[in-house]
Every structure is written in structure tokens, then in C-alpha cells.
Amino acid sequence: MSMLQVSVYRYNPETDSAPYMQEFQVDTQGRDLMVLNILELIKQQDSSMAYRRSCREGVCGSDGMNMNGTNGLACVTPLSAVTKGGKLVLRPLPGLPVIRDLVVDMGIFYKQYERIQPYLQNENSPPAIERLQSPEERDKLDGLYECILCACCSTSCPSFWWNPDKFVGPAGLLQAYRFLADSRDTATRERLAELEDPFSVFRCRGIMNCVAVCPKGLNPTRAIGKIRELLLANAT
């Protein structure tokens, strides 16, 4: 028996007047489990425990949460990477409304994603088969297209906490640059015009929390820097 003490954020708006932390003792049998495994063991103890999960291998982006103060995907985060002094604290992603326990309302996060028009726009008529890219043009999308929209980055960003309705946030801006950098997209000017206000891009203060927490190892801060360069080149 090797017990892990886990403290979990609980809130059921139908029965609880306020959120609270519930303590659980979980037997890990000495194994270095993933945090998601711990949640599954907790659910065996208390079936009312609510969290999102799907692929359990870091691809779907459902189980983003705050583990001992750091955002990440529970399914690909081993206990050895987050536990401090044999203790684990699980909270929902910060800054988003809680629906229940670890389940958050991602509405405003998706709204910002929608705002950057995350689809190819090309004013030229489509060729017979497909729009071709050179290998070099395709290389520009590496480090951008891999985002799974788990919201770990945007919900670790204070600028997004204070202005989630106006600042696009690191996840949305990474995708904004993904389409600005795409050789098949011709709406660059229109996209840039949507981003040059004081909030959408420029609320980024470059603290790089997004880079520190991204479970896919992506770099939204670099993408934001590239957007600034494009805006500057377009306007000077």
C-alpha cells in the first residue's frame, strides 16, 4: 500500500452553495501513474466526481486541468512530474466558469478561436485537384498546426484571465498565425486588420506561461511575435 493524498476541487451547482476541496486517499501500489489514472481511482470511490476525458493519450485535449498549480493534460502527466511531498491538488482550468467539479465552460475560449477565422480563405478559384505547397512553405506550419485546443495555455495566461472577451489568447493567436503563415491563404490583410487593436494581440505581455504549460511543446509567444512583425511590416 502506497497511499497518495489527493485534494480535488468539487462543485455541484445543484447542491453546493460554494466550491470546496475534498480529500481522497488513493492507493497507487507504488506505480508512477498518470494523473488521469488517479481520477479514475477516485471515481471508483466517489462516482459523483465529474471530469472530461476521452482518448487518454494527449491527442483529444479533453482533460486539461490544473495539477499542483500547473496546467496540463492529466492523461500524459505522470505523478512523478507534479506531486510535491506525496500530495496532489487538482483544480479546474483557471479563469473559466466551472460547470461541475473539474469540468469548465470553454465557451469564451472557443469564441476567441472562432474570431480568428480558423479556416483557409483563398480568393482564387480552386484548381482541379488541390492547392499545392512547396516543402518549404509546408515547413512554416510546423509548430502551429499541432495545437489540440486543450486551453491549458490560454487559461494560464493572466492577460486572458483579465480580458477573455477581448484578448484572443495564446491558443487562438497560435492558430491566427497558422493561417497567416499558410501560403494557400490569401486573406492575410483582412486577418491582420482584425488583430491590430490594443487588445486582440497586444495584450500579450510576453510572460510565456503558455510556452511553459503547452502539453504539445508548442510556442505561442513566438507566433505572437511573428504576428507583431507582420503587423509592423504591413503598417510602416
Partner: protein, 115 residues
């Protein structure tokens, strides 16, 4: 596009650029002033006055004052829009900041060109 009418340059891009350029000007002015004070062995009123009687020093100082005013407005505007959510209080604080910056700027010009 998020609409805004109270920020300095009416555009995030111009605010961002002004913030960086004004920071460099303020850095150069600070380095010059610190260097001057360190390497002026027996600084008296006449020497100090002589420095500020020169046109280039007045231009340099006015440039630094204008940079400070723009830099302070852009920075404080950002802080205010981050942390003060009620519109009435936020607008009042913004007006107070603009007023203070304006007063300091006019006062600075008076000091530079006054008797």
C-alpha cells in the same frame, strides 16, 4: 477587432511601437543624466544651469518628457483596463491620469524654458 477610443494611438500596433521607441529614448536620457552626475566632480548651480541653457539639452529633455508622457499613458492605460472593471471608475481614473500627465508636461516645459 476590439473597438477602443481611450488608448494613446487608437491602435495596438502604434501603442506598442511608441512604447518601445519611448523606452529607448528614456534609457538614453537616463544613461546620460547618470553619467553626467557621476563625471561632473564639483557640480554647482552655474554648471547645471549652463547645461540646461544649451538648446540641444532642452531638445533632448523635451524629447524625454514627451516620451515619458506617452510611455506613462500607454502603460497606465493598460494597467487600468486590466484591473478596473467598472466603467465609471475606470474612466475617472483614466481622466485623472491624463490630467496629471498634462500638468507634469506643461510644468516640465516651464522649467526648461522658464526664467
Amino acid at each position: 477587432m476590439v473597438t477602443n477610443i481611450t488608448n494613446f494611438g487608437r491602435s495596438g500596433l502604434s501603442d506598442w511601437l511608441i512604447q518601445r521607441v519611448s523606452a529607448i529614448i528614456l534609457m538614453l536620457y537616463t544613461i546620460f543624466m547618470v553619467g553626467y552626475l557621476l563625471f561632473a566632480p564639483d557640480l554647482d548651480y552655474l554648471t547645471w544651469r549652463g547645461l540646461f541653457d544649451q538648446t540641444w539639452m532642452r531638445i533632448f529633455s523635451l524629447l524625454a518628457f514627451l516620451s515619458l508622457a506617452a510611455h506613462a499613458w500607454i502603460g497606465l492605460w493598460t494597467v487600468v483596463t486590466d484591473y478596473i472593471k467598472p466603467t465609471g471608475i475606470r474612466f475617472a481614473v483614466q481622466v485623472a491620469i491624463i490630467l496629471a500627465i498634462f500638468i507634469f508636461l506643461v510644468w516640465g516645459v516651464q522649467v526648461l524654458w522658464g526664467a
